[in-house]
């Protein structure tokens, strides 16, 4: 099977403090991967590196290429922050995505907005924080990308919307594409993972097939997460 992501000895140091330290992993096509770790563990740094938003040391290849224009055509990224232009209408953001991404499905985005009761004529600044996140998620998931990088996709939405979003991710998920979901809300999202990666202080402390890890440890991913990061969470 061809690896969509190849990462070897990836390191990023901020002011002598490593945010990522010798990270190694490969990701195959057609997997949903949970990137798990507490705040400050390096999840966002890793996703930023995969998007070409950071210079790093080591090897990082997406579909055989270093992050750049070519990889950005096939990567759909949902950052933790809202990157929407507050002054425009929702439909303008749809046109923006349609202009720049050949794989953007405009009709699908419109239909999802309707499902979530979001008026495409509304200005972004008029939307609630949760609805802004939903718009952003719809934009990202309406692309037929090879790789989806979702940084805390359910972090800012209400519990009722979480299930809808997770179902949406599964519904939109194409067996040929790979999804990486970074989160610390594991209980809600655990059911969708094929693989998990535990990141602690910039280093991978556990990775593998989610079912195998559950069987090997006799615990759910959520229970294991609490065990591994017990100190990190309480300290």
């Amino acid at each position: 099977m061809t690896s969509l992501i190849e990462i070897k000895d990836l390191t990023k140091v901020y002011k002598k403090k490593p945010a990522l330290l010798n990270v190694n992993f490969t990701a195959e096509k057609g997997r949903i991967i949970g990137l798990l770790g507490p705040n400050g563990s390096g999840k966002t740094t890793l996703l930023k590196a995969m998007n070409g938003l950071l210079e790093t040391e080591g090897t990082l290849l997406i579909d055989g290429s270093r992050p750049g224009v070519k990889t950005k055509e096939i990567v759909s990224f949902l950052p933790e922050r809202s990157y929407l232009d507050e002054s425009v209408k929702v439909k303008r953001m749809l046109s923006f995505f349609k202009d720049f991404y050949a794989d953007f499905d405009y009709d699908k985005a419109k239909s999802l907005l309707k499902d979530m009761n979001i008026d495409e004529e509304a200005k972004i600044k008029q939307l609630s924080k949760g609805n802004k996140e939903k718009v952003q998620l719809i934009l990202v998931l309406s692309r037929k990308a090879k790789l989806y990088l979702l940084d805390e996709p359910i972090g800012g939405v209400d519990p009722a919307a979480r299930d809808y979003i997770l179902d949406l991710i599964l519904k939109m998920y194409d067996p040929g594409s790979t999804v990486i979901i970074s989160t610390h809300l594991i209980t809600d999202v655990e059911r969708v993972f094929d693989d998990v990666i535990f990141l602690k202080e910039g280093e991978i402390v556990l990775k593998g097939d989610a079912d195998t890890i559950r069987e090997d440890h006799g615990k759910s991913i959520d229970e294991l997460f609490r065990e591994v990061f017990q100190c990190s969470l309480s300290c």
Partner: protein
């Protein structure tokens, strides 16, 4: 992709600048109409308002240019812009080209307003315009047009350099050494970088002008005397504009540090 970037940038700037430019023209029209009525006080008030709007248009153009770069690329919107399938060079150029075009539109609006005031002057006659152009065309030689073209190119290059230096001054805040203090990083560093650049630039260009094989302070007797000095100036400006552009690109491509 560059055309698409330019299209979006152009319309994003339009929202900020078009209303103030239209307001400036409207104020010029109203002031001139009041001047025709010979009511001194309303005319003076309208003229003062027009003056204030003109100053505001200039300030808003500058602020919009800075904000479009800083907010769209280096704040949260940067997460979208830098993940588009475009190069950093295209991002920077689209911002600069849109800013230059809009500044040109602003300049045109300003000239239009000035023309309205000339039309309103008691000594004005339409024949003056044709006389003016007839005089220009009968006296101008081929070399004069070349000088005019060089002056225009030089003005555009100087404005482009001004824009790129603003972009550079904002971009240097991405460098790790300025990470620590937000006030220093966002207020003092860009301002200091801008001033420092122009001090160095003026110093270096005046030094270069002394090394050139002609006297920059020589008395100009005919327009052709300006051709070579202007061309040298353009060559220097072109080199500096290119260097600053690549420096901005280097910082954003290699040291981008979105929070």
């Amino acid at each position: 992709m560059f055309a698409k970037l330019l299209k979006h940038e152009f319309s994003a700037i339009a929202k900020g600048l078009l209303p103030i430019y239209l307001l400036m023209i409207a104020a010029a029209v109203i002031t001139n109409l009041l001047l025709l009525t010979r009511y001194d006080t309303p005319s003076a008030i309208a003229a003062a308002i027009f003056g204030a709007i003109t100053v505001a248009a200039f300030v808003i153009t500058l602020v919009t240019t800075i904000r479009r770069f800083r907010r769209n690329l280096l704040k949260d919107e940067g997460y979208l812009m830098f993940t588009l399938p475009v190069t950093t060079k295209q991002l920077i150029l689209s911002k600069a080209v849109a800013a230059i075009i809009w500044s040109g539109i602003g300049l045109f609006c300003g000239l239009l307003c000035g023309f309205l005031f000339i039309l309103n002057a008691s000594t004005f006659e339409w024949g003056m315009i044709s006389d003016f152009f007839a005089f220009i065309f009968s006296h101008a030689q081929a070399g004069d047009w070349l000088v005019v073209a060089e002056v225009i190119v030089s003005m555009i290059l100087n404005f482009t350099l001004f824009l790129f230096v603003i972009y550079l001054s904002i971009s240097v805040t991405q460098l790790p050494i300025f990470k620590a203090n937000d006030t220093v990083r966002h207020r003092i560093v860009p301002f200091g970088c801008f001033i420092l650049f122009y001090i160095i630039y003026i110093g270096v260009t005046s030094l270069i002008s002394k090394l050139l094989p002609f006297d920059a302070n020589a008395t100009i007797t005919q327009s052709s005397d300006l051709l070579i000095p202007l061309l040298s100036g353009i060559a220097i400006e072109l080199v500096v504009v290119t260097l600053v552009f690549f420096l901005v690109d280097y910082i954003l491509a290699r040291h981008l540090n979105l929070e």
